[in-house]
């Protein structure tokens, strides 16, 4: 048995070609590229969070990212799987998780949340692509049931720039839920001021959710690059706007849709979480159903539920329905059924 591999017969100088099934060309996209682009899109809002909430925000985000990536790495190592911990998806999970929580949350809780998100929600299901629930939201929901007090303690805004001193230790939605709309407007000193604060992000809340403007910037970038279908955030925001307008505090059609759209984690959720392709339906039609459902449940929880905000749960609930949607809503096969 000789070790030398046989040379080509006849024509030794011919190159050795590669054979494969068609097609033989691919476009330039890859998972890693897409994922890091999403991270990039989140960057402006993340930077603003550090500016607005200070160093704790930075620490929490770093802890979230590091623990997410580390858990993925350790798991894959232990299971003998190929290491894909650095493809950017774990980074998104960790970052989004930290961004959807109070800056005051002790970092160790963020770490636990990150690890739970990756291990329970993602890797146990088989890793990227197989998870049914949005890992970041599973992490958040798990923390919410584990340490509800810490999770609902909001900062008195550190020493960041003024104008919002009135808003201490309660988020806008919190005030709305417990004290009503008028109290809410009063805390900001007027409706115009309120909208301005919501738009710029100079308000209290989870650390990554405040700046509507920068989130829109990032979301818009993803839409422009084609990684996100604009229909999904649009439908979700629209559903929330319409429903909150209809079911206003003072009877039908008295709501403040603008406030509801910009408050809480809706913008972040609609652009970056309702668009997580892994956990939403695959067809456009299915995605519209998903987004509308998520919007509706968000409103339901905000208006009658036990929590001030419902983005996280509404998305998780719709994640659970996604396989059913995918089964029922399929594209029409070309040439099937009627159609001329």
């Amino acid at each position: 048995m000789s070790e030398e591999v046989m040379k080509k017969p006849e024509t030794a100088q011919d190159p050795v070609f590669t054979i494969s099934s068609s097609p033989h060309i691919r476009d330039g996209e890859s998972i890693d590229h897409i994922m890091w682009q999403v991270n990039l899109a989140l960057l402006p809002a993340a930077v603003f969070a550090v500016y607005w909430f200070g160093i704790p925000a930075l620490i929490n985000m770093l802890v979230g990212i590091i623990f997410a990536i580390a858990s993925e790495y350790v798991w894959q190592r232990a299971m003998g799987q190929p290491i894909t911990a650095f493809d950017g998806s774990a980074c998104i999970t960790g970052l989004l998780l930290a961004m959807s929580m109070s800056p005051l949350l002790p970092p160790y809780m963020v770490a636990v949340g990150s690890a739970l998100a990756i291990v329970v929600a993602k890797q146990s299901m088989g890793g990227l692509g197989f998870n049914i629930f949005n890992p970041a939201h599973i992490g958040r929901a798990a923390l919410m049931v584990s340490w509800p007090i810490a999770m609902t303690t909001w900062s008195a805004m550190g020493d960041a720039s003024g104008g919002v001193d009135a808003v201490t230790s309660a988020t806008p939605l919190n005030i709305l839920k417990l004290q009503g709309y008028d109290a809410l407007v009063n805390t900001f000193g007027g409706q115009g001021e309120m909208y301005q604060a919501l738009l710029l992000g100079t308000r209290n809340g989870s650390l990554g959710e405040t700046s509507t403007l920068l989130l829109l910037l990032g979301g818009g970038y993803l839409i422009w690059k084609g990684y996100v279908n604009w229909v999904v955030p649009a439908v979700m925001l629209l559903t929330v706007a319409v429903l909150t307008w209809i079911f206003g505090p003072a009877g039908l059609f008295t709501g403040d849709p603008l406030f509801h759209v910009m408050a809480g984690g809706l913008i972040l959720g609609a652009f970056f979480m309702a668009t997580d392709m892994v956990t939403i339906p695959m067809t456009i039609k299915g995605q519209i159903i998903f987004a509308a459902g998520a919007g509706a449940i968000t409103v339901l929880i905000r208006l009658v539920g036990g929590y001030p905000e419902g983005v996280c749960y509404s998305l998780l609930l719709m994640n659970a329905v996604t396989p059913l949607i995918d089964r029922l809503v399929k594209p029409r096969i070309f040439g099937a059924g009627e159609g001329k």
Partner: protein, 191 residues
């Protein structure tokens, strides 16, 4: 009216029996491998639970309570449910074969199952009125069916996933149920 609605929605979503009250888990994990089976099972559980609740309510409030025999509830209800299910199976098989094929085949499986026994017991423990018992039973059944169907659709999807070997089967089913119940927490505090 609002009272009934509250009771109903509470039973379906907020206090979902499977996901927050841990009842009927054996079927929940046993049947949810397959979507069509879970739909049939959902129907079977709902109907059996409703009817056995009615029966149990009558027996309890007209026999057991008046004679001070409430401690016999367990044994009487279980025998009642079991025989009722047998009877039902018999009748349906004979009278409505189509219905039988849809969910009759699951009947015997549920003859002895937590949720089918628990709902009649809860009804009498909470002294629900006759009508309320029915609403509660239907709501619980629908809640159970909802969880079962969702779970089945998730598990069917996971059949094609690279779930690590030791977690495959019942392990991952538990974890899924855990996440589903996390999601259902969103409804908590709603009523």
């Amino acid at each position: 009216m609002a009272e009934y609605l509250t009771l109903f929605i509470g039973a379906v979503l907020i206090n979902n029996f499977v996901l927050t009250k841990f009842l009927g888990l054996c079927i929940f994990f046993g049947i949810s491998k397959n979507l069509s089976a879970s739909i049939g099972m959902g129907m079977a559980v709902t109907s059996v639970m409703t009817m056995s609740s009615i029966l149990a309510w009558i027996v309890y409030f007209f026999v057991l309570q008046p004679f001070g025999l409430t401690f016999l509830t367990t044994i009487v209800f279980v025998v009642l449910t079991a025989s009722f299910v047998q009877l039902l199976e018999l009748v349906i098989k004979k009278q409505a074969p189509a219905l039988y094929n849809m969910w009759g085949i699951y009947l015997l499986l549920i003859a002895t199952n937590c949720i089918v026994l628990a709902v009649p017991i809860l009804n009498v423990e909470n002294s629900y009125s006759f009508l309320k018992s029915i609403v509660f039973a239907i709501g619980s059944g629908i809640g159970f069916a909802l969880a079962l169907i969702l779970m089945a659709s998730l598990r069917e999807k996971l059949v094609y996933a690279d779930v690590p070997k030791p977690l495959q089967g019942i392990g991952i089913a538990f974890i899924l149920a855990g996440m589903l119940s996390l999601a259902f927490l969103g409804f908590s505090g709603m009523l």
